[in-house]
Symmetry: C2
Subunit: 365 residues, 2 copies
């Protein structure tokens, strides 16, 4: 039923009359998560596989023999190919009579598009990425339940960080402990490469982890996520190992306040970029002017940086009930360090619900 509704909706919100929508995976990691969204399959990788959605017919799954066992849970028609020629044959069989074909330009590789054009020279291809985004940015109950579980996992792991660290532990070792703890708590895998940075490395927002050993007075920045049944969470906390100095305290306080400013603004019907503007303006008025160098948050779901929206300067969509976002202000002082705090929230009738709840105020560990 759930799948059927998603499929119904996507054709309903397309402006043009679309005869079929093709979702095409390439090799891992070039997998379009919409394949899982529309099939509701959970296991398997489905490299090179496709699903074709129709407005009023059962979907066709075109999958490699390798994935046959994984596809058995599907309610769609399953078609098995052994080589590219057989794959192409299925595409011809299921799409030759479709004139207007929807493709997700945001996740299909150029090579696959070129191949499709050759195979179906009479077809017109339309970009349905925006429609898919509009659909996916609003989560249904099944999705929210999985995200909440993913959030519970990171909450319980973050709570243990003060007990995990000790003088001399390396960034790598802490990352290993974090990932292990997430999996022991039920994560299928990490949502992304865990960031566990110490000292001045915290000033590099996407630094992951290395051989640096923890020393007194260092920043500790932990940014990680859990994947639970294909849905993700994303949390960040920044601590100081030992007694913080004035600047560290001030950076931490600024970011806690910046996040509060976001929280005060987030509710349905507000424009997404307004949240970022408020946070950005606040930081620009502090001593940390010009050090907030990314967006205030992103939609999260099947993808960590999920499609559709974010608290970013360019995002003009209006917030709606059942959207899920991260809220993650941060400031980065080169050669000194960075502070970021990140939580996941669900927009609801009353404003929003915090999905991650571990203390945001803990500084010294």
């Amino acid at each position: 039923m759930k799948n059927y509704n998603r499929k119904e909706k996507i054709f309903k919100i397309c402006n043009k009359k679309i005869d079929a929508i093709l979702i095409k995976n390439n090799v891992d990691p070039y997998i379009d998560n919409n394949f899982f969204y529309f099939t509701d399959l959970e296991e398997g990788i489905f490299e090179g596989c496709s699903t074709i959605l129709y407005p009023e017919q059962i979907s066709e799954l075109i999958i490699s023999e390798l994935e046959y066992e994984s596809s058995k849970k599907s309610k769609d028609n399953v078609n098995i190919f052994n080589n590219k020629m057989q794959y192409d044959q299925f595409i011809l069989e299921f799409l030759s009579s479709s004139k207007n074909i929807g493709l997700n330009f945001n996740n299909i590789l150029l090579k696959d598009y070129v191949d499709l054009q050759k195979l179906l020279p009479k077809a017109e291809f339309y970009n349905v990425s925006k429609e898919i985004s509009d659909l996916r940015v609003i989560k249904d109950k099944n999705e929210i339940d999985r995200i909440k579980k993913a959030c519970n996992i990171v909450d319980s792991v973050m709570e243990k960080i003060p007990n995990m660290v000790y003088k001399g532990i390396t960034e790598n070792q802490l990352a290993a402990e974090i990932d292990y703890s997430m999996q022991k708590n039920g994560a299928k895998k990490t949502a992304f490469n865990t960031i566990s940075s110490f000292g001045k490395n915290t000033a590099e927002p996407h630094y992951s982890h290395g051989q640096v050993k923890l020393k007194k007075g260092y920043f500790i920045l932990c940014d990680f996520g859990a994947n639970f049944r294909n849905y993700n969470s994303d949390i960040t906390r920044t601590f100081i190992f030992g007694t913080p100095n004035r600047k560290q305290l001030s950076m931490h306080e600024t970011i806690v306040n910046a996040q509060k400013i976001a929280f005060n603004e987030i509710k349905a019907e507000v424009k997404a970029n307004k949240i970022h503007d408020k946070v950005y303006s606040y930081i620009e008025k502090t001593e940390f002017k010009s050090l907030f160098i990314h967006s205030t948050g992103h939609s999260i779901g099947l993808n960590v940086h999920d499609i559709g929206a974010g608290f970013s300067p360019d995002c003009e969509i209006f917030l709606k009930e059942n959207m899920v976002f991260t809220v993650e202000p941060g400031i980065y002082l080169p050669k000194f360090g960075g502070v970021r705090i990140e939580d996941d929230i669900l927009i609801n009738k009353d404003g929003f619900e915090l999905l991650t709840n571990v203390s945001r105020n803990l500084i010294e560990i």
Copy 2:
């Protein structure tokens, strides 16, 4: 020097006169690893960032402010953008005078291509995927060293599996132990989502792990890889928990023999698909006919399923020195179980070198 050589080579092997090559990342996981290949950067994610290579000029890096710290190790020209407009401005600045622009069709998203066409309406875009593949399939010393380290990590973890398992351990728990052990042994992250399957789940080649508890007589299939400084390894072993029955023994023996057949054939100047054909023909003559449902191996490097080649029916390239492959025959009997054994090898002057060495003959644990 190393980067310069890679860049020199790519322009040299292009048939057409190419004025510039643009490598464009989108959001994670739609990252083109060629960005790291040609910049030799290791840290950072570089979402939405690009590098532009020229035949006789220093490369341009176009990166978001967020990645500035991570880009500092680069020897290329670094250009920082804060929003899409600024990114576009750099593209115009660095590519307006280039007529023939090379793109990697295999890893660029259709959306990014459409944007580029609008931005540079006079440019001709050429697909340089094949040239990039031809270059990357042959590994240089720096790459081989990293792959060997990644292989050492999985070897030492696989060796510990017999001590990790016990009656009642779940697939999830074993996966957590494997991943933890890889990271403790120096992996930056797992190369891919670890497969740790028990019993009849082993018949599903891309099943990852779940709540199934280990029982006497079950198959245990462990397929995992380590990422070390952006390079990957990939290993698989299949065991039986307790005393194997006749069929299990026979499956295991068949696959050990199938791998030996591959090993006997692998050497420079042999066609890649010949390796697969030999292994396939052998299995077709056994009682497990028609149960070998995937290729015999794939190139491995910056990507797990690395570009350029594989021991697959369609791959007609000739093996060359310094190519790195996995060798992974497997058979899958639905509702009963599967056996796969996988090792990584480096083609050399004398045939090949095995990069993973943990016992292939251990059956009962």
